[in-house]
Every structure is written in C-alpha cells, then in structure tokens.
C-alpha cells in the first residue's frame, strides 16, 4: 500500500473493495493519480511488479469487454478531469482523460459548439473511457465516431513514457496515426491521459420525427429511403416493436433526428412526412429531439441481462432485427432492439442471461460469414464467463497479437479484456 501512497499520496490510494470490481474481479488496490507524472509512476510500478492494471474514469462503462484475466490495480483517472484548452475559433478542444463529457458539453455550449459524440451516461462518461471503449450514440449517423474527431492523443506506454500522437490542428498527417491505435483498444495498449478533438457548431435546432411502422423491416426500409433523400438526418434510429411510447405504440419505428437551421429542419420534416405517407405510415413530431436522442443513447445501459451489438450492412438491419425477434420468440425470451441504420449497428437488449449464448449461437455465424460481427457489448461479469464476448476479429488477429506484444510485452494493461484474449 505504501508504495502506491508514495506515488499518489495516501489519500488517493486504498485497498479495493467489492464496489471496485471489474467483471467480478476485485482489484487489490484502487489508485487515483493526480497528474500525468503520477500516472507514469503508477504504470512503472505496475510494470516493475508484473501487476495487471485496468484504467478507469468514473467506472461508467467497465461492463464493456471480456473479464480481465488478472486485476491488481484499478487506476482511476477522474482526478485528471480538466478541460485543458478550448480554442473556439479553431474549433478544437484538448481534454484530460478523466474529464466527463457533461463538463465538455457545458464548456463548448458557451461557444455554441459541441463534441458530437453522444454515448450513454454522459455525466459519468470520461474522455478516456469514450475513446478506449469507442463509445458512440445516435449522432454517429452524421457526425462519425471518436476516430473521426480525434486529432491528437497522449498515452502512457508500458515503459512509463508518455507518447504523443497526432496534434492539435484539424488536419495532420505527420507520422503514423497513433491516436487510432488506442481508440476502441479498451486500454490494452496504454493509458490515455489526454486527447484533442475537432469540434463542430451545435445545430441551432434539433427535433425528431417518429415514423410508426408495423415491423422493424418496414422501419428500416423507410429509414433507408429517408437517408437517400435530399436532407441528411442528424441521426436515424430504427426501433424494434414496443420500444417507444411516442408514435408507434406497440409497433416498430424509424426515428429521424433533424438538426440545423430552422429551414433545414422544416425541409427535413417535410421529407420524412412524404416518405412516410407514401408508405401509408403515421408520423409524430417530437420537438425536443435532443432529449429523445439522449434516451435512445441510453438504450445499451438500461436494465438487461446483457446487450448484444450486431454489425451488418445498412440494408441488412431490417432482416437482422426480424431474425433476432423471431429467434427470441422461439426461445421464449424478451428482447428489445435498437439500430443505428446508417452504420448497420443493431443493439439487442436481452432480458435473461441464459438466452445470451443461444442468441449468440444463432446470430454470430451468419453475420461473421458476411464480414459482420456480434459482440456481447455489456453484461455482468458472471454472465460473460464461458462466453466469447468479442467473436472473431477476422484475418487481422495475428497483427493484433503482435501489436499487443509490442506495446505491452509483459501484459500489464487490462490483460484478457480484448479480442482473442489480448
């Protein structure tokens, strides 16, 4: 204990308890460094002792990933919580890893801007977690993912050195794109301590139109037609049966987020209405589009035994939802579905843990055969035991193994949490 106290101070190191568990594994210590230098000290100490370390912000997304093989230190980065630099006119923001997204949002809102990434639990999601778990929400449809907005990064590597990748300007091809290495790596290649993002003007208005549909397939078809129209939606989600109170009642829906100037929103609303009426579908306008979007973003953290994330082509979203609903009905389990249509991502919240392996077995082979995937995105650790959380990462696995060995030779960073047991 005293070794950690020496690095971060006695008040910021304590023994781990059940509340600190990662997938059921209780860390021996919980250590909260207050500076990048202290993070370096912690990593060096972990490396020297051959200890396994899992980095965390406020613990909002520790249910993502496979259970760690070992866990000695939970490294809490929430003390590194500052907005370091907001250049409103350059449209960039530099943030410490432990900075919560709600603070980022408040800071940028003062300049009429936003970081258009909207994962669940924004108040407790930190920048580091956003990047490491590659979190995204409905805005992904039009704004891209973290990888598309991340300009630069600082990471503490397994030797304790701080490595810089990218920069603070919006366009930069100097050297390899090291920031990409850490996005979605779940902290298995280093500890992210700082990140710079490109930011955007926040749309002046945001509303949503709910198109009530008899089936998820019909909703996906209507959604694809809307995506092909002349007014690109800010976001577009397809919900399975019974997911939304607004509009569809017990049916499925295409939920279209519209953002921008008043004129653009007006035009978008007309386009959605036309597309719906051509199909004989009913629409409901939701004036607070951002609030509805926030609720949809929270889908994957709503109570469930587990959430599966299937990835397919946009045109296959409807069929995948239908297949899932049918399979669930056959096995007598409750599922709820929500899809990001343009990205081809279908989330399936499953009520009972025993149904997870059954659904994985039905969905995964067909999707993987076509280059897609099914990941057990979230569940309790006990549920994950014996399940392949990630599935097949494809032909790149050997390179990924080499990447991990190269950057974390002694396996101190979240061993076992990532694909293929990395």
């Amino acid at each position: 204990m005293s070794a950690w106290a020496e690095i971060v101070g006695a008040t910021h190191a304590r023994p781990g308890g059940p509340g600190d568990a990662v997938d059921g594994l209780v860390p021996r210590w919980v250590v909260s460094p207050g500076s990048v230098a202290e993070v370096q000290g912690c990593v060096r100490a972990a490396a020297a002792g051959g200890l396994a370390l899992v980095a965390s912000g406020r613990g909002a997304h520790l249910d993502v990933g496979a259970p760690p093989r070992r866990l000695d230190v939970l490294l809490r980065l929430d003390r590194l919580g500052r907005v370091l630099d907001h250049q409103a006119h350059d449209m960039t923001v530099t943030l410490e890893a432990g900075c919560p997204l709600s603070l980022v949002a408040d800071t940028l809102a003062r300049a009429g801007q936003w970081l258009p990434l909207d994962p669940p639990r924004p108040a407790t999601t930190t920048v580091g977690g956003l990047l490491a778990a590659n979190l995204a929400g409905p805005l992904r449809t039009s704004q891209g993912r973290a990888r598309d907005l991340l300009l630069g990064i600082r990471v503490v590597g397994s030797d304790g050195c701080v490595v810089v990748g990218g920069g603070r300007v919006v366009k930069n091809v100097a050297g390899y794109d090291l920031p990409k290495m850490h996005v979605g790596a779940l902290g298995t290649l280093g500890v992210i301590v700082e990140a710079t993002f490109k930011i955007r003007p926040r749309p002046e208005r945001e509303e949503a139109v709910v198109v009530a549909c008899p089936t998820a397939s019909a909703a996906a078809d209507a959604g694809l037609a809307i995506l092909d129209g002349g007014v690109p939606p800010l976001w577009l989600e397809v919900t399975g049966p019974g997911e939304l109170a607004e509009g569809p009642g017990c049916g499925a829906a295409a939920v279209v987020g519209l953002g921008g100037l008043v004129e653009e929103v007006d035009a978008g609303r007309e386009l959605v209405r036309e597309a719906a009426s051509r199909r004989g579908l009913r629409t409901t306008i939701v004036s607070d589009g951002a609030a509805l979007r926030g609720r949809l973003a929270d889908f994957s953290v709503a109570p469930a035994a587990g959430v599966l994330r299937a990835a397919t082509l946009p045109t296959e979203v409807g069929p995948v939802v239908e297949t899932t609903v049918a399979a669930a009905r056959e096995t007598g389990v409750d599922v709820r579905c929500l899809a990001d249509l343009a990205s081809g991502i279908v989330r399936i919240a499953v009520a009972e843990a025993t149904a997870l392996p059954v659904l994985l077995k039905i969905l995964r082979p067909a999707l993987e055969r076509d280059g897609g995937s099914v990941v057990l995105e979230r569940s309790q650790g006990a549920v994950k035991a014996g399940l392949d959380v990630w599935g097949d990462p494809g032909p790149g696995m050997e390179l990924m193994r080499r990447l991990k060995v190269t950057f974390d030779p002694s396996g101190i960073f979240a061993p076992g949490r990532f694909v293929g047991g990395l």
Partner: protein
C-alpha cells in the same frame, strides 16, 4: 545491382511487359510530384492483380530485398523516391473497380484505380467519393490511402481515413491480409486506421473498401475579393465563427490570381491581394440563409466584391481555377515546390506573414493557394532548377516555413506526408519516445524494414546512407 535471375522471376509473375529495367525507361520513375530529389529504381514491377503483388513480395522477402510502392507518382513529399530500395512496385495496372454497392454506399477498388474514376462510376446514382485532392484526375486510391490524402472539401467531409472502411494489405512477407471491410465495427484494433497514412511503410495496399457519400442537393459557390490577406483571413475566421461548416473554404493570393487569370481568362481581379473560394452545400432549404451569413461576414470584413456562381458551369469554372492553380504556376517559373503545413486556422495571417518574410529573406517568389478553412497552407516556392543557389534557398525557406508552422502550434504536413522531404522536420513535432513508438508500430507490419525504407523517420543510421545520394541527386 539485382541479379538477372531475380528479374526473370519477377517477369514470370507479372508478365514480360510488367517489368521495366531499361535505364531510359526507368527515368519516368526517378521522382514523383516532389522533384527536388531524384533517384531511379533498378527495376519497376507492375503487377496486374493483388495476387501478383503478393507473389512479387514473397520473392523479394526470400531475397530480403527492399521495395518502394508507387501509384500514379503524384505524391508531393518524395514518398516514392527509391532510397535503399532497388525494386519499385507500381500498382497502376490494377485498375478495376471490383464492386459497387449503391444501397449501402460502398465501393471496392483496386489500388491503381484513379480517385476521380470512383466518383465517375457512382455519380449516376447520386453518390460520390468525397476526398478530392487536386491531383484527383491522376492520383490513385492506393496512393490516397498511403498518404491519407485530403483536398479542398475535407473541411466538411474529412480526409481519406474517414472514408476507408477496409483495406487489403500485402505485407512485406508476401502475405495478403484483409483488414476491416464493408461492415463497420469489426472487433479489434483499428488496423485500417493505422494503415491509412502509413506512407507505404507497412506494405502495399492492394484493394480498399470505400465509403461513398450522397451528392448534395445543391451548392452555393462564392468568390470573395479582398484588398488584403488579413481581411480575407478574418473573413475565414468569421465564417467559421458564425457556426457555418462550408464544404470548402480556399484562399488564393495575388500571385496565383495573376497566374490563373493569365492562363484561363475568367475575369479574376488581378489587383486583388486575396480571393476566397467559398462553397456551401447541402439541402436547398438551408442554403439561402447560410449564404446570407457568408455574404454578411465577407462584407463586414471588407470584401470589395462577392461573386456567386449562377449555375453549374460557373461553379465548374471557379473550381477549375482552384484545382488547376498548380498548372498555371508553370507560367511563373520553370520549377516550383509546393509546401504543405498546418496552423490553427486563426493563425493563418501569422503564417502568411512568416511565409512572406522567408521569401524575402531568401529572395524567392512565393504564391499561396490553400485550404484556409483547415489552416492547411500550401506556399508554392518558385525557382529554376538550373540555379543551384536558388534551389538551396528554396529548401531553406521551406524548412523555415515549417518551423514557423510548428511554432504557431501546427504541423509540418496536412496532407502530403513526410516522405523524404520532411524527414528532418519530424523532430520538431515528435520526441524520441514518440518516434520509438512509431518505429515499433512499423515493425509490427514490417519487422525487417523493407517496405519503403528510409522514409518518415530521421533515424541516425539512415542519415549516413541517404544523405550522400540525396545531396547528389538533389542539388
């Protein structure tokens, strides 16, 4: 010298016409768009398929021979200069667009497919491939992936890496590995994101799965004329500050304006100090309101004239000027070197002053045509390559401009890459720990360092090997 048997075996893989080794034929390959340094490869291999690329690389792997990949040779940082690599693998015969999926907006293109062909192939479906470097009628997808190419429309649409979903990479071992693909979010590390922009040092990209975007419903394209570069720069900041994201926001200075007018006679004001080419795109509905904001910002920053393209033909003319600006430079000097640097966009006036000062110090003429909205500058340094002293001054001024970019918080390259040109400036941005991490990453893909060696990294050992030939061929 390569052994004759090896060349014969390469011929047996790619066909007789697919291997070039006559010295006079190799002259074409001695440089790319960066002409200050030249070196011809010993042999150029032109595979017809990804499988032939892999076969050729397996052969080279067995002999431990280094190679340099090349597409159309339009690169601007000497990335295809063979330095310590006797074999050049040129993807220009791999020209097939293999699949077009309109409904899902995906295209699979072989590495040698020309950028513009992709958009041409899908335009009838109302789609396009967004990254549009100025060289898009010639540059290849493979080269774009290697360099993470940009272009004028990246301000709104992003650069190559934002549009590549998958690549097939021929590793230096000769193994073909498919990374990513048409479906997003494959679990695992973002290897595709690492390959894009790796400048051919991880292997040779043989195919890419690209994301297409919907063509906008409408455009509004403006030419705003200013009496000072500062006023134009303020207008750029003002437009961004007004919450607008134009599709493009380009600046041209007086020297370029004059050259363009001499070349194309489109009525550009040759006495203006700067013009902005501003393009809005998107749904018709919002464009008028956005246009009014752009006009108001330009006027309040002293634009003396604001032209709006009235139709597609006028829009095409304005863009022709921008995209052919480099061609028009030929009228000003026998040779030119296009620099590429980035500053935070609010520092554009500062970097333009620094460029002017560097030009004056080294007695050079410099024209500026660049992506002002991104802060991505492209000073064009004019010279005559027969004047060795002038060439030396061009190199010195280029270095100073890049140093100024870094001092202003920017980068030494926004879209051209490091290649050989900027190796010496890399330490301005990255320290030893950062560079060591990058070299380790490279070794994951290319443990023997045979793919495009002596690029990007200012390695101490490399200096000894490259300096002599570089100086020799360059000056």
């Amino acid at each position: 010298m390569l052994l004759a048997p090896l060349v014969a075996r390469l011929r047996s893989i790619v066909g007789v016409e697919g291997v070039i080794d006559r010295p006079e034929a190799l002259l074409v390959y001695e440089c790319d768009g960066y002409t200050l340094e030249r070196a011809a490869p010993e042999v150029v291999v032109l595979p017809r398929t990804p499988a032939e690329v892999a076969s050729a690389l397996r052969l080279l792997a067995a002999e431990r021979i280094a190679f340099v990949p090349r597409g159309a040779g339009t690169g601007l940082s000497g990335g295809t200069l063979p330095v310590g690599a006797p074999v050049m693998i040129c993807t220009s015969r791999m020209q097939r667009i293999e699949a077009i999926d309109v409904a899902n907006r995906r295209v699979v293109a072989q590495a040698g497919v020309v950028n513009q062909w992709v958009s041409n192939a899908v335009r009838a479906h109302g789609l396009c491939y967004a990254p549009d470097p100025s060289s898009q009628p010639a540059c290849t997808i493979g080269g774009n992936v290697a360099e993470n190419s940009g272009g004028p429309h990246t301000l709104k649409y992003g650069v190559t890496t934002n549009h590549v979903l998958g690549v097939e990479l021929a590793l230096p071992s000769g193994e073909l590995v498919a990374l990513g693909g048409a479906v997003e979010d494959r679990p695992g590390y973002d290897l595709v994101g690492l390959v894009v922009g790796s400048e051919g040092t991880f292997g040779i990209v043989t195919r890419a799965t690209l994301r297409l975007v919907r063509l906008p419903q409408a455009y509004r394209t403006f030419l705003a004329v200013f009496d000072s570069v500062e006023a134009a720069s303020e207008a750029v900041s003002g437009i961004i500050g007004a919450g607008l994201v134009p599709a493009a926001l380009e600046m041209m200075d007086q020297l370029i304006i004059q050259a363009l007018e001499a070349a194309f006679h489109v009525g550009l004001p040759t006495d203006a100090q700067a013009v902005l080419l501003i393009e809005l795109d998107g749904p018709v509905a919002g464009l008028d309101a956005q246009s009014q904001r752009v006009e108001a910002v330009c006027r309040s920053n002293g634009a003396r004239e604001l032209r709006v393209a009235r139709d597609d033909a006028e829009r095409a003319t304005l863009w022709k000027c921008r995209k052919r600006a480099f061609g028009a430079i030929g009228r000003l000097a026998p040779n030119y070197c296009t620099q590429d640097g980035v500053v935070p966009r609010t520092r554009v006036p500062d970097i333009l002053r620094a460029i002017g000062a560097a030009a004056a110090r080294h007695r050079l003429r410099v024209a500026n045509v660049f992506h002002a909205g991104d802060g991505n500058i492209h000073p064009i340094l004019l010279f005559d390559e027969r004047d060795r002293d002038e060439v030396a001054r061009v190199l010195a001024a280029g270095r100073e401009i890049l140093e100024a970019c870094v001092a202003l918080g920017g980068s030494i390259t926004g879209e051209h890459g490091i290649g050989v040109e900027k190796i010496d400036q890399v330490p301005l941005l990255f320290g030893p720990d950062d560079l060591r991490a990058m070299m380790r990453l490279r070794a994951v893909f290319d443990p023997e360092g045979r793919a495009n060696p002596h690029k990007i990294f200012p390695d101490a050992k490399v200096c000894v090997e490259t300096r002599a030939p570089r100086r020799q061929v360059a000056l």
